[in-house]
């Protein structure tokens, strides 16, 4: 059965390129959400194998969404990978302290995004 991935990102272009990449290269099923709040609902409803979560979003940002995911027993154990264009050292350390599985940086390579995810999630 193909993996199911939830992408939570407010930017349409990033969401669509990431979805294209994961569906085409890895053959995974992709569910998308355009806000943290929508992401929480979709995660509970669809129980994805992993979540790719943007950091800077209006309203509920990535770190807050992550904490909410962890609070809900239905989503607490789903691996979360942050996807961020914040590449400065202090930002990266702050994100690492959250307890996410990994931090992937934007821009990503559409050809290797799935293999990057497989590697950090131990799926390879």
């Amino acid at each position: 059965m193909p993996r199911r991935i939830l992408i939570i990102d407010d930017e349409d272009d990033i969401r669509e390129v990431a979805a294209l990449s994961l569906e085409t290269v890895a053959g995974w099923d992709v569910i998308v959400a355009s806000s943290g709040a929508q992401g929480l609902e979709r995660a509970a409803e669809h129980q994805p194998d992993a979540i790719l979560l943007d950091v800077m979003m209006p309203g509920m940002d990535g770190p807050t969404t992550f904490r909410e995911l962890r609070k809900n027993p239905a989503t607490a154990k789903i691996p979360v990978l942050l996807l961020t264009a914040k590449v400065q050292g202090p930002d990266q350390r702050r994100f690492a302290d959250l307890g996410v599985e990994a931090i992937l940086t934007k821009p990503f390579d559409p050809l290797t995004l799935a293999s990057q995810m497989e590697k950090v999630l131990g799926w390879d």
């Binding site: 930017e11 272009d13 669509e16 390129v17 990449s21 961020t84 264009a85 934007k106 821009p107």
Partner: protein, 110 residues
């Protein structure tokens, strides 16, 4: 033995091309925000709101351009992002030249 880097399947290249065309207006809107902010900076009238909008626009451009293969675009947008976030300094002329180069790169891909 060295392995060759993976090559993009033609179907994916085509799909990415379609997404580039689809999202080009949004990318150009972000670029226009940056250009307007640079003009305001040069004339000494950059407001806090305009700086923040430019910061957000540069951040989004930095995140997306390399995904479409415009890695130099990501570098330029990232420099502009740091300046508008006041995390590094640059002259208005320097910033203007980065944004002009960004415009050239994006125009060439149209």
């Amino acid at each position: 033995m060295a392995t060759n880097p993976p090559t993009m399947p033609p179907a994916m290249l085509e799909a990415l091309g379609r997404l580039w065309t689809k999202f080009l207006p949004e990318i150009e809107n972000r670029l226009a925000l940056l250009e307007a902010a640079v003009r305001s900076l040069e004339s000494g009238s950059l407001s806090g709101d305009e700086r923040e909008s430019a910061h957000q626009a540069a951040h989004k451009l930095a995140g997306v351009l390399g995904t479409f293969g415009l890695h130099r675009g990501t570098e330029l947008a990232r420099q502009a992002e740091l300046v508008f976030a006041e995390e590094r300094t640059a002259s208005a002329g320097e910033l203007s030249s980065w944004v002009s180069e960004l415009r050239l790169l994006i125009d060439r891909r149209k």
